[in-house]
Amino acid sequence: MSGLDKFSEKMTRRVARATSRRSLLTLIGGALTGAAVIPVLPVSRAQAQGHGHGGDPVAPQTTGNPQDPGDQTQCDYWRYCAIDGFLCSCCGGTASSCPPGTEMSPITWIGTCLNPADNRSYIVSYNDCCGKSSCGRCLCNRNERDRPMVRPQANNDINWCLGTSSAIYNCSTAVILGVALEQQ
């Protein structure tokens, strides 16, 4: 990881933590309502057939950690509450790492998702993986609190392969940046 990458990662975490409590609560509200979303989605035919399954009959993948529950190949996995794209878990990567030979974008958008196992809200960074063409598996698009291009930091239609050596989009991760709120 280059010095620049480290800097932007630090900035992302700092900005994420500094986000106001009110807006975090709003985001959590979005995440909660998102749990039952059925993605009838404009981006691809795969999505229209998806019904929350990312469109493809991919064999389930769990972490094995009861504190990180769910199937990472499915749109309804808790970390994906504001994701848009192919799930890297289906593409040779994991929910938090890029497939081999791709490059993780240092610039990204974030969401706040509730982990149903420990009931904590986590700040999740949706870093895109770049440098190889569209993965094509497990397309997922959830739009709670998504805002149009006029507000880029809250928009998931943007190709976030920015600051990478190639802007070609492959898939999206959902990396835990930290806990969003102290639990009451």
Binding site: P42, V43, S134, N143, R145, N155, I158, A167
Partner: protein
């Protein structure tokens, strides 16, 4: 043995059928020349629509289909490559189609080149290109207002996103770059006045910039805030009625912006009158959710399951709104769940609704009657632009 007999009978049938055919047609079909390539008319009929295919499963291989939605058959008339989150922009006066696109020298890696590729409307062959400097052309799911024309179609405006925002002004006659204009906090380009543009900004305002004769930016004029982005943001693509852009919001409020003068003016708006049948409520939904016909009627793609986050879910009805009377004059029940809509600019307009399976459903806009389906014209038909 029985099988051999059956085959012999079949062969005799074939022979006799062949003999009868030749008798009916004494002359064989003429020989045909090879290397024949179809051409299109220089000016496209107003039943034609440019359908942009994002091709999400292979983004470097995006394309656009040119579709005659008014014809009984032979609907797909040609295709144009539109690479990597590209944009397609037909000129109405120059006999050219402009495509903003991005290439890498090794397809997915190597040197990045952003260009406006210029296609001839008649031959659909590439005529020329203008290289865009800086590798900064904005890459996102296609929005028509990331590439627009101004100055009587002599100049193109390219929206850049790095994530810093800027606009590149391109001289299409001279095939050269005129200027780069920083646009901190604002997005996309809406041609404004004789020579200039407006952008929508993250604080809910809009900023208009008039350009001088050399393409340099004059002073920026910023409006009062009118776009309530947190609560009820406007979709980014307006329906144009003359120089008035009709925007619709996530919750179904319409807003008119006048782009005729040197600075854009907010003309105010109204809520689409509430209609029955929503669970919990009707809201606009899809990608390109609003369009206008020549008479100035608005068509809005509506989703009965409107909630926060449903804004890209597509819709099941198109509502025809008369902005003068502020009424819903008709509700068109769509045969299929649809992603985007576009009205043709014909005297008797057709309404085109694109489906997530890449087919187009075509309706008579005046009656709402279903006319035809044009199957499989694209992978991901996100934006459509009717010929004008």
């Amino acid at each position: 043995m029985a099988r051999v007999y059956r085959m012999a009978t079949f062969a005799m049938l074939l022979l006799s059928a062949g003999a009868a055919g030749a008798a009916d047609f004494p002359q064989p079909l003429p020989e045909e020349p090879v290397s024949t390539v179809t051409e299109l008319p220089e000016r496209y009929p107003d039943s034609w629509v440019f359908v942009h295919d994002l091709h999400f499963n292979s983004l470097p291989d995006g394309r656009a289909a040119i579709v005659d939605v008014g014809a009984e058959n032979n609907n797909l008339r040609g295709q144009i490559p539109v690479a990597q989150f590209g944009n397609i922009l037909p000129s109405t006066t120059r006999g050219e189609i402009y495509v903003g696109e991005t290439f890498y020298s090794r397809l997915t890696r190597g040197e990045r080149t952003d260009v406006i590729t210029i296609w001839d409307t008649k031959t659909l062959a590439p005529k020329d290109e203008i290289v865009l400097p800086g590798g900064k052309r904005g890459l996102f799911v296609t929005l028509r207002n990331s590439l627009q024309l101004t100055n009587d179609e002599k100049w193109a405006l390219v929206f850049n996103f790095t994530p810093g925002s800027s606009v590149t002004v391109v001289d299409l006659d001279g095939r050269k770059i005129l200027s780069d204009i920083d646009l901190p906090g604002c997005s996309l380009v809406y041609p404004t006045g004789p020579r200039g543009f407006t952008s929508l900004c993250a604080d809910g305002t809009m900023t208009s910039i008039a350009l001088d004769a050399t393409g340099k930016a004059g002073p920026a004029v910023t409006s009062e805030a009118f776009n309530t982005i947190d609560d009820d943001p406007l979709f980014m693509t307006p329906a144009m009625v003359g120089r008035t852009g009709w925007f619709v919001s996530f919750k179904g409020n319409l807003r008119a912006i006048d782009f005729a003068g040197a600075a854009a003016r907010d003309l105010g708006g109204f809520a689409i009158p509430k209609q029955a049948g929503g669970e919990p409520e009707w809201r606009p939904g899809g990608w390109q959710v609003i369009s206008a016909d020549r008479a100035g009627l608005l068509y809005i793609l509506m989703n009965p399951k409107g909630i926060e986050g449903s804004h890209k879910d597509g819709g099941t009805e198109a509502w025809v709104v008369d902005p003068k009377a502020k009424t819903v004059v008709r509700r068109i029940a769509l045969k299929n769940h649809s992603v985007s809509i576009e009205a043709t600019q014909q005297e008797k307009p057709l309404l085109v609704a694109s489906r997530s399976d890449g087919s187009l459903d075509v309706y008579d806009a005046a009656s709402g009657a279903f006319v035809r389906t044009v199957a499989s014209v694209a992978h991901d038909p996100m934006t459509m632009t009717a010929a004008r």
